[in-house]
């Protein structure tokens, strides 16, 4: 045999190298942990406090759900807020994502500018955005919806762009090679590929916005958010937990819907 493996590619060498990286990482982590005085043993020695709290929080007091008759109306409003916020924010985010992603941007400079804007948008605290809209349109679900939309743009603009950049190159090459314009390449080679992840991300955005909207429900004065926040502050954990269970149900339902739509878009090609 006249070809032999370079030393650096020998599995044992590779292993040593990886072990070294891991060791450095471990040292850094352990160093940081001890610098910040982590005490994992507390999990054992003080576990009873946690157990006490869990006991105090359970069982959820589902009575609250029907005691407050306005809750179901407020859920509708919460859902509306989240839905519109996702729709508006998601649409803008999607458009910007195509401008930001490196493989679809009309010009690298445009991409860089959009990415920068998205980053700036993300760091503006949601409190500031909320205040801005509170002042502009007053308290109420509309302000909440607007701030959700803006929040969605920053975060999902980036996630959508990540998805676009992950699209396979070959079909894109092929569509380019028939002389299609950038928009056509996007429409015929990129979108079919990223559709499943777009759907998943859109529902994920809805899911995040739903929770945020529940938080913003404080506005309404009688919504789930208001009740959860009241219950938590009054140390009525059982009531809070009942409402939280309800939220979990809602979020899980959204998740299932997303799954179903996405599996249709993913399409199973191979006969199993």
């Amino acid at each position: 045999m006249n070809v032999s493996l370079d030393k650096q590619y020998l599995p044992s060498e590779r292993y040593k190298r990886h072990a070294a990286y891991l060791a450095v990482l471990a040292v850094v982590i352990i160093g940081l942990c001890s610098y910040f005085k982590f005490e994992p043993l507390l999990f054992i020695s003080d576990f009873h406090y946690m157990a006490d709290l869990v006991v105090e929080m359970t069982p959820p007091n589902f009575e609250v759900l029907w005691r407050k008759e306005k809750i179901f109306a407020s859920i509708l409003q919460t859902l509306s807020m989240a839905f519109l916020g996702t729709l508006a924010g998601g649409a803008v985010a999607m458009g910007l994502a195509f401008l930001a992603a490196r493989n679809t941007t009309p010009h690298p400079a445009v991409g860089a500018v959009i990415r920068t804007l998205l980053a700036i948008e993300r760091v503006i605290p949601s409190l500031v955005i909320l205040l801005l809209f509170l002042i502009a349109v007053g308290l109420g679900p509309f302000a909440g919806m607007l701030s959700l939309a803006v929040g969605t743009i920053g975060m999902f603009g980036k996630l959508f762009a990540n998805a676009i950049e992950g699209a396979e190159k070959e079909p894109i090459d092929a569509v380019h090679s028939v002389g299609a314009s950038k928009l056509q390449v996007i429409r015929y080679a990129v979108i079919p590929q990223v559709l499943p992840s777009f759907i998943a991300n859109l529902f994920y955005a809805f899911d995040i916005n739903l929770r945020a909207a529940i938080g913003l429900g404080v506005f309404g004065g009688a919504g789930v958010g208001y009740e959860i926040s009241m219950a938590m502050r009054l140390v009525r954990y059982r009531d809070a937990l009942a409402l939280i269970c309800f939220t979990i149900l809602l979020v899980f339902a959204v998740e299932k819907l997303s799954d179903w739509l996405r599996s249709r878009a993913l399409g199973q090609d191979l006969l199993k």
């Binding site: 092929a174 569509v175 090679s177 028939v178 002389g179 314009s181 015929y188 878009a265």
Partner: protein
């Protein structure tokens, strides 16, 4: 130089639809892969490119379409309207316009797996149809009928609405060929267009390509010297990034042995297995 000579010269230049001038290509690390390739292709030619695996055939094809930019050298392309485009430098609109006239069949097919076969074929016309329509509406019935006719011609019309990802290898290959034909280009580049096809289908494809080549030059990469010699009008042989032969469609035995190595002689033995009836 008289006006006549000038016209003649320009005619000669125009007849050269693809003019590859000393292109080289190296990897980022500087390993040369194409080491100065030159040839010209004129109207009416059906060029077969032969060469061992890894010779740089696919890379050359990519340069001819502007998907890869050569490290040095240039590729000139004369389109239907006799505009000369330098594919090595062209960008944006100009490149798009040129590509519209260059059909490509890729080695790995490069189809959009989640679209149906017919949609993949119609993608071939994207460069020609109105942008707005292509974005919002898609294609017309007429276009679909034409695309279907091409698929029909290639025996895969019954698969038109299946997502391409679920087709068999040979079926995908034929869809890729259909896309390039449907594109109605001025030049066609075909990278191993019949590799995944059975002998009859392969032959049929060659029979379809041959008359097409009269209209638009076809440059094809093949691994079947026999078919190339039968159908092509010219054979270019590539080895290790260099053109080792460029000439008519009859390669001599020694040329073939030069290209593929001495083991080739064994191939001969297998060539008369099918005894006449």
């Amino acid at each position: 130089m008289g006006a006549n000579t000038a016209r003649l010269l320009s005619f000669q230049i125009l007849a050269r639809m693809i003019d590859v001038r000393q292109i080289t290509k190296s990897t980022k690390e500087g390993v040369p892969i194409l080491k100065g390739i030159s040839f010209t292709v004129t109207k009416g030619e059906f060029v077969g490119i032969l060469g061992p695996s890894g010779a740089g055939k696919t890379l050359t094809m990519r340069c001819l379409n502007g998907l890869t930019r050569p490290t040095s050298g240039e590729v000139l392309f004369t389109d239907h309207e006799h505009n000369l485009v330098n594919l090595t430098h062209a960008r944006g609109r100009e490149l798009r316009k040129a590509r519209r006239q260059i059909g490509v069949i890729f080695q790995g097919f490069n189809l959009v797996k989640r679209l149906s076969a017919i949609d993949n074929v119609m993608i071939g016309q994207l460069g020609r149809i109105n942008l707005l329509r292509s974005l919002v509406y898609g294609f017309t019935d007429d276009e679909a009928r034409q695309a279907l006719a091409v698929l029909e011609h290639l025996n895969v019309a019954h698969l038109a609405h299946r997502p391409v990802g679920s087709l068999s290898g040979g079926e995908q290959q034929r869809v890729a060929i259909a896309r390039a034909i449907y594109q109605q280009p001025a030049v066609m580049l075909a990278d191993e267009p019949i590799a995944n096809l059975d002998p009859t289908n392969a032959r049929k494809i060659m029979q379809i390509l041959t008359p097409l080549a009269k209209e638009m030059p076809i440059i094809g990469v093949f691994h079947q010297p026999d078919l190339v010699m039968e159908f092509c009008t010219r054979i270019i042989a590539l080895k290790e990034g260099v053109v080792v032969r460029d000439g008519d469609s009859k390669m001599t035995r020694s040329e073939l042995v030069d290209l593929y190595g001495a083991e080739l002689s064994e191939i001969e033995a297998s060539q008369r297995i099918l005894q006449p009836a």
